[in-house]
């Protein structure tokens, strides 16, 4: 089954794990790519599947392996951790998770939670995307404030004039600055360029 979003489940009870996975059988947009019963092979699977969501029973993260879990979360920062709670878990542990699925949640409730998480994540990624210039956009910006024309920038960076124009549009959209002299100020304030390189 081809789907956009992927999930790995890490749950010691095979009955619970299979039951949760079955919730997604008829959901086309999401697929369960791996089910583990222990934490020790989790890192390997995360690297192999690069899933969107990691559903994990926090009981597996005993206090002594918490550091290791945090490190994994940092290494795979794209993966959203969701807790699958089957018995009482300390609130401090649950804070590390984006959301919590409980053992008696209905199918509809679980699926809704997963969809909300995926949509929410898309939104925050869009927001982040609009703030920072990509490396290529920065190259174009620097060339632009040095006074190069679109054609010269295209030759220098080995990209088409059309691509230069697209980058320029994105630069204006992301910075909110339209004029080249305004962008010069932006480049200087962000130390992308030195004062001596312009205003010759």
């Amino acid at each position: 089954m081809k789907s956009d979003k992927t999930i790995i489940i890490v749950e010691p009870s095979p009955i619970v794990s299979a039951g949760l996975a079955s919730y997604f059988d008829d959901i086309k947009q999401v697929s369960i790519v791996s089910q583990l019963d222990r934490i020790d092979r989790m890192e390997e699977k995360l690297a192999a599947f690069n899933p969107d969501i990691l559903i994990i029973n926090p009981l597996l993260i005993a206090y002594d392996t918490n550091e290791q879990f945090l490190k994994i979360c940092r290494d795979f920062s794209k993966v959203i951790p969701v807790a699958l709670v089957t018995s009482y878990v300390d609130a401090g542990i649950l804070k590390q998770f984006k959301d919590v699925i409980e053992i008696n949640d209905s199918k509809q409730k679980v699926v809704t939670k997963i969809f909300n998480i995926l949509n929410d994540n898309k939104l925050t990624q869009d927001k982040l995307e609009s703030i920072e210039l990509s490396n290529r956009e920065t190259d174009v910006l620097v060339a632009l404030v040095k006074g190069l024309t679109n054609k010269e920038i295209s030759d220098k960076l080995f990209i088409s004039v059309h691509t230069v124009i697209t980058h320029r549009k994105n630069i204006v959209r992301k910075t909110g600055i339209k004029s080249v002299s305004g962008l010069t100020v932006y480049a200087l304030l962000n130390n992308l360029i030195d004062e001596t390189e312009i205003y010759k």
């Binding site: 004029s179 100020v185 200087l188 304030l189």
Partner: protein
């Protein structure tokens, strides 16, 4: 859609409901203190063309308002040119120096690298505005007078003006972005807010100024050229 003002509207009601219209009075050479006089009465007392004054006020306070072809045909050219000239004077002699004065404080407080850059940016902007106005005063307004007197000496057409009508608002919005988003936070925070508010007022006023040129000046000239 907001109500269109008429000559029977009380001047004070119109202005109190739309305070941005306060900017009109110095441009038309009128003083405040209207009492209960109507727009028509105040205009007559000051020798101002009531239809033209109303047209400008309506454009300023009502986004959807566009003068009819008859309104345009009846525009008093002298009033139009004098209004535009007075607006230019106001921007150059009052608004820009006011913003510059505040900006100078910020420039002096910045490390020289940033200060020089802001100074250069503002100087460029000022020159752009001056060039824009000088172009209109040297080319467009005399051409208009020739047209009205049916004594056209050039092959200039208003289309040229329309096409070269540079956007003097872009840099102003850039300056706003720089002040709000990018200049280091510790530089004169209070004064920065004041400048940002001033810039906001100025850019609204300039936008309306452009609207008057596009909705009145250009159609007026096009009707004469036809």
């Amino acid at each position: 859609m907001q109500k269109v003002f008429s000559e029977n509207t009380k001047m004070a009601d119109m202005v109190l409901g739309n305070p941005q219209l306060l900017l009109m009075f110095p441009r038309f050479g009128m003083d405040l203190g209207f009492g209960d006089h109507s727009v028509g009465e105040v205009c007559a007392m000051n020798n101002v063309s009531t239809p033209f004054f109303l047209m400008v006020c309506n454009i300023y306070s009502n986004d959807d308002y566009s003068p009819t072809p008859e309104d345009i045909a009846n525009v008093d050219l002298k009033a139009l040119i004098s209004y535009l000239l007075e607006s230019h004077k106001y921007y150059l002699n009052e608004r820009l120096p006011h913003i510059e004065e505040h900006l100078d404080h910020i420039i002096n407080a910045c490390i020289p690298k940033y200060g020089n850059m802001l100074r250069r940016f503002f100087d460029e902007y000022k020159n752009e505005v001056v060039d824009h106005f000088v172009y209109e005063e040297k080319n467009v307004f005399p051409y208009l007078e020739q047209l009205v007197n049916q004594n056209v000496k050039t092959d200039y057409k208003i289309k040229v003006f329309h096409e070269n009508h540079t956007n003097i608002e872009d840099k102003l919005s850039d300056l706003m972005n720089i002040l709000v988003k990018y200049l280091p936070a510790d530089v004169y925070p209070k004064e920065r807010i004041e400048i940002a508010l001033d810039i906001n007022d100025l850019s609204i006023d300039l936008m309306n100024h452009t609207l008057i040129e596009e909705r009145v000046l250009i159609p007026f000239v096009e009707s004469l050229e036809a």
